[in-house]
Symmetry: C2
Subunit: 269 residues, 2 copies
Amino acid sequence: MKKFGKKYEITSLSNEKIKFINSLYQRKYRKELNYFVAEGVRICKEALDNNWNIKYLLYDITNKNNVVIENIINETLTLGADAIGVTPKILTKISHKDNPQNVLGVFEQKWKNLPQAVGINTFVALECIRDPGNLGTILRTIDGVGAKYCILLNECTDPYSYESVRASMGAIFNVNIISSNIKDFIKWKLDNNINLIGTSLKDAVDYRNAKWKTPFILAMGNEQQGLTDELLSQCDQLIKIPMKGKSDSLNLAVSTGIALYESIRKNPN
Amino acid sequence: MKKFGKKYEITSLSNEKIKFINSLYQRKYRKELNYFVAEGVRICKEALDNNWNIKYLLYDITNKNNVVIENIINETLTLGADAIGVTPKILTKISHKDNPQNVLGVFEQKWKNLPQAVGINTFVALECIRDPGNLGTILRTIDGVGAKYCILLNECTDPYSYESVRASMGAIFNVNIISSNIKDFIKWKLDNNINLIGTSLKDAVDYRNAKWKTPFILAMGNEQQGLTDELLSQCDQLIKIPMKGKSDSLNLAVSTGIALYESIRKNPN
């Protein structure tokens, strides 16, 4: 049986646990330590509800008699993790914000492999994307269409950065995050005979005329350069979204959303 | 005939013009002075191409023999505005970034009134939205569907903030930005008999089943609270986007994009 966690207070920024948590705001340490920070009651609750492994919960000791926070503290302790009360000043320092959330959870990262059973799933593959807000927003949309997989190709921005976790609004806890190189990804696509749909400004069909039959992979590229030629050459279909004004493209998260909602229009059930 | 602007260098951060430009990174001063800053060659070029009134162009003096920058400098001078060469250090200080653009334009803001002739236009009304990235992204999408109007209701984030201008990718120069209070807006909608489509989580129809006939106004609310009851009560239709996962909503800019692209599907031409 798992033993209960401890509840205590820390008042010093130089405490080792506070330093550990603080370091998780840097990608280098997230990679090394395999933990990340989720801020806010709602997002922490979503993580716990989805059985993510919590290591620490930090809460604002001045926030008394808040039932929701008390419940999260108790849940944390029941799971065997420590609930640490800190001053608002420490929370502000850690979260690098003037107006910090009153709860902050430290969770273990989850990285999945390319799944062996493909089923009739929708996959979103992101190649070299740079903006954490875009990544989190896309995770939220992936969950929005009921899909389950986000494949990060080559070097993408970190899904477990604070900005990405926040932009996902908790969806990060419902989507399987996979990191892969192009070679393994292409082999997996070919082995499983999955329809790969890429976005491109040239030689592309209107997204509404594409074949969206599941399973498929929607591949979206870097904010500036789009998909690499290497990936484009492997696509079964290239799609574009019509642009009626002067702009030549949409924001990455917006175009991903438009494409994914087209796919559920074509796969109603 | 307009006289040519001057070209000169400034090397001190305490120069009055540099202080003026620096102040435009704060909303208070943008409101007072009615100017704003656009960063980067591409966005400044877009502004000039669309006849926005330039006051100053700042360029990096260490960036020699760059034809694109030389052209923008000449265009600025021809328009009677000053082109000011500064050190990379000054550009870094002004733009508050480690990696600043090598060109920075100061332009006059444009605020339009609710148009008297409605035509068969698409209008997007945003109520109390808070995130400048969302606002800029929505401006980009408005231009993407060939629409021309963005109406900001009550206190919204500033479209002329650096973050919004950047997220718009220059689309801010192609969209008419209107600021209105709810009362005038409702009167205008009623006087012109425009179909007002609001988004709501309850009592709403699937967005694909709404009547999207132009002219219409798509009204989107605050990121957390959505539309106010005051505005909801005036809507002719309430729509929602189906959510198939655990998330209960999409990012504001994503849902605006999905709705706007639905509208051009229903109004092809």
